[in-house]
Amino acid sequence: MQNYDSPDGSGKPARRVRRKYEEGKSLSITSLLDVLTIILVFLIKNVSTESARISAEAGLNYPSSITNDKLLEKSGATPVKIFPDKVLVGVDGLNFGNPKDLLENAQKRIDISKYLQLEANDIFKTEGHEACLVVQADSAIPCGYVTEIVRIGTDAGFTYIYFATLADPDWLKNTSLSSTQ
């Protein structure tokens, strides 16, 4: 037999009241997930393999252009980056020395030519692919160096030469007015 002690002395058992704790609600991350999905789709759309091959190089001051030609669909692109103080050739960016060497050092020209021929042959192994040379040069580089690279490239078998620029549809508007007008 149980004895209940009543606080008020009435004999009734003391009523125990359990405090109700609300269950903690888990943070809803569905909306966050939606936003992230949208961002991801947007980024995937913008990031292409082409931009991976032709990325803007820090330290290169690109010239501006209105024209924006597309790379050939079936093509293999080999970049040549002409900095004011160095020339990097190929996807791996092999350093072939100073731009002046292009005009003054015959051995350097031969080395670059051999390397570009290997690259072009690799591209031609893939059926139907064209070899494209993408020249990324600083806008303050004298054209003599660029001409030499183009000559070496065309001799090596690159039939399509692309010059990398920065897209700027307003560069002509921003230039000073013609003196003849």
Partner: protein, 174 residues
């Protein structure tokens, strides 16, 4: 009348609230991919100016101009003179040669090439020769690469889809 005995162990699932799918792994994946892709995004768009050096087209570095078999009257050349030329000829700027027509000179203003005048001149050529798509740009070796690109760009924007890039052999005598 057949009667079926109720099952001994009647499994009655307690009715619980439907569980939400565990989104934590997906979130982890997203949080890894998105910063990586943001790093890859290039804010400034790299454009390309194409030149075709396949058979029959003009080549770079050679002294011969690529004309694609055009007759002399249809051939249009833009010569960009450098500072070396200025020393010997007292002229810095561009020269447009159109077959037998007189050379049109566009002098540089304060050692800056006049692209607005060049644009107008190319527009004039386009108006007179609507079907012409070939144009040759001859650049002296001391001209800056940026100036070459701007000239090619103006040719392309004015409808000259086949721009031939040629470097003349230049020797300056003091």
């Amino acid at each position: 009348m057949a009667r079926f005995k109720p099952s001994d162990v009647r499994q009655q699932k307690s009715q619980t609230a439907p569980q939400e799918p565990n989104l934590v792994p997906i979130m982890n994946l997203f949080l890894t991919i998105i910063p990586f892709m943001l790093m890859m995004v290039v804010v400034s768009q790299v454009a390309l100016v194409a030149l075709n050096f396949s058979q029959g087209e003009g080549g770079g570095g050679g002294s011969g101009a690529g004309g694609g078999g055009k007759t002399d009257t249809e051939k249009v050349e833009i010569h960009i003179m450098g500072k070396g030329f200025e020393k010997t000829n007292q002229f810095l700027g561009m020269e447009i040669r159109e077959g037998s027509l007189e050379k049109a000179r566009i002098p540089a203003v304060n050692e800056i090439y006049d692209y607005v005048a060049l644009d107008n001149a190319i527009k004039g050529i386009r108006a007179s020769k609507a079907d012409l798509v070939d144009i040759t740009v001859l650049v002296h070796p001391d001209v800056l690469y940026g100036d070459l690109i701007r000239t090619i760009d103006l040719c392309k924007t004015n409808g000259f889809s086949q721009v031939h890039y040629t470097a003349p052999k230049v020797q300056y005598y003091d």
